[in-house]
């Protein structure tokens, strides 16, 4: 629980740090993308800290290349 709160606070801290500077310089596109990525990564981090079994991206790469290997008989 505490680790999830800590992650949320870190995410919020990063957002505040970025928002102030980017909004002042009217960099809305940068603000939008950095906020979107931040929300996604904070959410995933909280899920991980709660012990949720997240999909491993390497598994997808593994299955893709295994299929190719089997096509070529490697």
């Amino acid at each position: 629980m505490w680790s999830s709160i800590a992650i949320f606070l870190i995410g919020a801290g990063i957002f505040l740090f970025q928002f102030k500077k980017l909004y002042k310089n009217k960099k809305m596109k940068e603000l939008w993308w950095s906020s979107s990525i931040l929300v996604a990564t904070t959410f995933i981090s909280i899920l991980e800290s709660r012990g949720v079994d997240l999909p491993n991206p390497l598994d997808y790469i593994w299955s893709f290349y295994s299929t190719i290997h089997s096509w070529f008989g490697l």
Binding site: K27, E30, S34, I37, S45, Y65
Partner: protein
């Protein structure tokens, strides 16, 4: 994107650090597992193949005319197809950064700080990387100049003080199992770090003097490769091929065996310092390449707003990317070569073909 530049010398240092990088941890064991006492020949062969691959990268860098790998793809193939290819490249570099972070994390928690949670090791190490990435390529380049003499000194220390324990008999029999295990083992170093050097194409446009840069890349990779050759040979000569295979970190074991005049012992931490330095630079180059790449992919003016959000993602990816060392070893053994080959060789070949066709069309039009 970034007006900063680095000198060809700094670029060469970055190439050396990148080549040694995490491979100093990963290469000796798996190469020796396949080629046994002939692993030095496999590494020598990999260095030669590596030079040919870097000539290809240099050609792309030259034809791209000041554009990064992502920009060149978008320029040659247009927005949609270019972005599709770029996304494969970005995923590769980003995942690689997470895996390199995990390499150092695993090493720290298994050998140096076993009571510290893996997450904290990753955060502590990565905070410095985030700072460096935020400051830009100029700072990264200058740091490489500061740290290079230290790395040379520590490497000399390692080679000098472990030399009394060398037994040349450990190299025998030469090619005892034939040529094929030696040839097959060369795949290990070709996939890591040689094909991973495709990430440096994101930095290439920021280096001054094209001719010197191309030369620096080749020289840097040969020097880095030679260090790996020296380290692997040292492992075999001191520990023998069997002990090299059995140990997860054979170079670290060599450090433990160092005994200077019977009173200066337990100097393996010097080896750990070399690793931390080289892995730090590899990680910072990969992370810089991925943030700049993502920013260019999303058509942003500045990459810095992405540094912290993507950093959070890298840390979490390094945790979830592999559940244990056995998974990682199977992944690297079965898949990594094909994956690195498709991103580090086939993708650049596609780009090179596109750049050459574009150049021809331009020449015809003129």
């Amino acid at each position: 994107m970034d007006n900063q530049t680095i000198s060809p010398r700094q670029f060469m240092f970055l190439v050396i650090f990148f080549t040694i990088g995490s491979s100093i941890l990963i290469v000796p064991g798996p190469v020796t597992e396949q080629a046994k006492q002939d692993s030095w020949m496999s590494i020598l062969l990999s260095i030669l193949i590596g030079v040919a691959i870097i000539i290809l990268y240099n050609k792309i860098g030259e034809l791209s005319a000041g554009k990064t790998f992502i920009e060149a793809f978008n320029d040659v193939f247009g927005n949609w197809v270019g972005r599709l290819f770029s996304s494969f490249y970005l995923v590769f570099v980003y995942i690689l950064a997470a895996l390199v972070l995990r390499n150092i994390g695993d090493f720290m928690t298994s050998q140096i700080m076993p009571a510290t949670p893996l997450q904290f090791t990753h955060i502590l190490f990565f905070v410095v990387v985030l700072g460096g990435t935020f400051l830009g390529i100029e700072v990264i380049g200058r740091s490489s100049e500061i740290f290079m003499p230290w790395m040379i000194l520590l490497l000399l220390f390692l080679f000098l003080f472990s030399s009394p324990q060398i037994s040349m008999d450990n190299f025998k029999p030469i090619l005892g199992d034939g040529v094929s295990p030696m040839l097959s083992a060369s795949k290990v170093m070709i996939s890591s770090p040689i094909l991973e050097m495709v990430a440096l194409l994101m930095i290439f446009p920021y280096v001054k003097e094209l001719k010197q840069t191309k030369k620096g890349w080749i020289i840097g990779s040969v020097i880095g490769g030679s260090v790996l050759l020296g380290i692997t040979s040292l492992c075999i000569l001191v520990l023998g091929s069997d002990l090299t295979i059995m140990n997860t970190y054979p170079t670290y074991r060599i450090g433990e065996k160092i005994s200077v005049a019977g009173f200066l012992e337990g100097l393996e931490i010097f080896i750990a310092i070399i690793w931390m330095m080289t892995i730090f630079f590899k990680l910072i180059v990969l992370y810089y390449a991925s943030t700049v790449g993502f920013a260019q992919f999303l058509s942003l003016d500045d990459y810095r707003p992405l540094v912290l959000p993507l950093g959070m993602g890298t840390i979490i990816l390094s945790i979830i990317s592999y559940p244990d060392v056995a998974y990682f070893e199977s992944f690297v053994g079965e898949i990594w070569f094909s994956y690195a080959l498709s991103i580090g060789f086939i993708l650049p070949l596609i780009l090179l073909a596109g750049l050459l066709i574009k150049k021809k069309i331009k020449q015809k039009g003129a």
